[in-house]
């Protein structure tokens, strides 16, 4: 499988001396769904920001063998512009790129429909629930048709049912668009449900402790959570994390 991006020896030390990452090596293939799991403060979010180009690493490099693709980013907070309605928010990447208004509007509406927000296009963020705001955030991330999706604990602040629904909606989008996803999460179960690969990181300064290949069924639903395969996958992730934590 072609590598989409590689991290070689990425370290990051912040002003003030905090060493968030220490020599992270990672290779992500096109089309993979990779979760980064680890304890708080282990540098998962930092790694994501380095990949996105929002932070420069102190050492090491991020390389894109096939060229840097269009990237979508989803934060833990929906991070919507309160003064714009759902379409206005979803259109942002397109507006910033200078896409014509009519086309930007149409693409944003389509993205909102794909995340299940038909009928809410003109709603303002303050009228939307947490789950709906997160859907707008995802619509925004996919509106510009990215090839790589970076997600930083996007569902952590939501209730369990909403979270599971969004998990399934995300998998559907990923399948439809052939997206590569790097997904940061605290949740062992979420990573086991969503990913082809789970990368466990050590506590700060973060380093890759384990890199597990999972093989979930290609099309899955919540029923998968009740199967022994799922339990096995979750168990492996859990064990890897425990081991990483004790290093």
């Amino acid at each position: 499988m072609a590598a989409l991006l590689t991290l070689e020896g990425i370290s990051k030390r912040f002003d003030g001396g905090v060493e968030a990452l220490a020599a992270v090596d990672l290779r992500i293939g096109a089309g993979e769904f990779v979760s980064l799991v680890g304890p708080s403060g282990c540098g998962k979010s930092t790694a994501l920001r380095v990949i996105a180009g929002l932070l420069a690493p102190s050492r090491g490099a991020v390389t894109w063998p096939g060229g840097k693709p269009a990237i979508g980013f989803v934060f833990q907070e929906p991070t919507l512009m309160p003064w714009a309605d759902a379409v206005g928010n979803a259109r942002l990447p397109l507006d910033l790129k200078g896409v014509a208004r009519g086309e930007a509007e149409a693409r944003a509406m389509r993205a909102l429909a794909r995340v299940g927000l038909d009928g809410f296009e003109r709603a303002f963020p303050r009228a939307l629930s947490g789950g709906m705001k997160m859907r707008v955030s995802i619509a925004r991330a996919i509106a510009a048709e990215p090839k790589l999706l970076l997600m930083d604990e996007p569902f952590a602040a939501l209730d369990e049912l909403t979270r599971q629904a969004l998990n399934d909606d995300l998998l559907k989008l990923v399948r439809e668009d052939g997206l590569t996803v790097i997904f940061v999460t605290h949740s062992v179960y979420e990573s086991a449900y969503l990913s082809d690969r789970v990368v466990a990181m050590t506590p700060r300064p973060g380093r890759v402790a384990a890199d597990l290949a999972l093989s979930p069924p290609r099309v899955r639903d919540q029923g998968y959570r009740l199967t022994p395969e799922f339990a096995g996958a979750a168990g492996r992730v859990s064990a890897a994390l425990k081991k990483a934590n004790s290093e």
Partner: protein, 272 residues
């Protein structure tokens, strides 16, 4: 659960926001009229509301003309204060060097007692351009809240949103116009509400200090009426000033509501 009974139903309609202070005003006026007559208070000390009304009616034309003068100068001063404060705040947001250099001087302008400076401005600008003097003085008082609040607002953009804008390759101009300025809008509108009142105070104060010459605003009318012991007329002019101040305040509040009510937390109706 027991309802908060009569207090709750009193505020049930929107009219209560006007009706309650209005009722109080009427009661105070009635008491005033009665007490002044009853105790025989001299008219040059405290005229009864009826005398004030008579003075208003009797000097209607000149008072209205003065009201218009004060109002139009205030309007110009307000516009200049909003524009100047906003422009300077935008400049500050783009250059920390300029901000560091100029901000203290802006503060100096703010705390300078305007009355002390008015004669100086009069001499510099010229006695034949009193209007300009009034605008300058009022601007000095009114622009700082706009500058200070808008500067704060421009700096208050959500950090994650800034990151998102950078991620999608936004230019500095795009970040300013699509992120920082909408973020600053509630701050700006709140400051404008305060600034409008300050501009009025500035104009009236400057009118009083600038003396005669071409001055025909309400501030000067008040001084003139005081000099002639036409106390009822003075009160009438004061009442007009108050009404003008209230009207400006409400107009700016309405502007704030109209701009923000669809999306801002401040305009959300409280539940229950």
């Amino acid at each position: 659960m027991k309802e908060r009974g009569s207090q709750q139903s009193l505020f049930a309609t929107r009219y209560s926001l006007f009706a309650i202070p209005f009722a109080l005003g009427v009661a105070v006026l009635a008491a005033w009229e009665f007490l002044v007559r009853h105790y025989g208070v001299p008219a040059i000390v405290l005229p009864p509301p009826s005398a004030i009304w008579a003075a208003f009616a009797g000097n209607f034309a000149s008072l209205m003309a003065s009201l218009w003068v004060t109002f139009s100068v205030t309007l110009v001063a307000m516009a200049a204060a909003f524009a100047g404060g906003l422009l300077l705040a935008v400049i500050f947001s783009q250059s920390r060097l300029v901000e560091a250099a100029l901000y203290p001087y802006a503060v100096v302008l703010q705390v300078t007692p305007v009355i002390a400076v008015t004669p100086l401005i009069l001499i510099w600008v010229g006695f034949d351009r009193i209007d300009l003097v009034l605008v300058i003085i009022a601007w000095m008082i009114a622009f700082f809240p706009v500058l200070a609040n808008t500067t704060l607002g421009l700096k208050s953009a959500d950090h994650n949103l800034i990151d998102l804008f950078r991620l999608y390759g936004a230019s500095r101009w795009q970040i300013l116009t699509r992120l920082q300025m909408p973020t600053a809008l509630p701050y700006l509108l709140g400051a404008m509400r305060v600034s409008g009142g300050l501009a009025l105070i500035g104009v009236v104060t400057a009118e009083m200090v600038a003396g005669s010459g071409a001055a025909t605003g309400l501030g000067w009318r008040i001084i003139e009426a005081g000099n002639r012991l036409e106390i009822a007329k003075m009160f009438a002019a004061l009442a007009l000033l108050s009404i003008l101040g209230i009207a400006i305040f409400f107009a700016l509040s309405l502007l704030e509501w109209a701009t923000l009510h669809r999306w801002h937390e401040s305009a959300v109706k409280k539940q229950g």
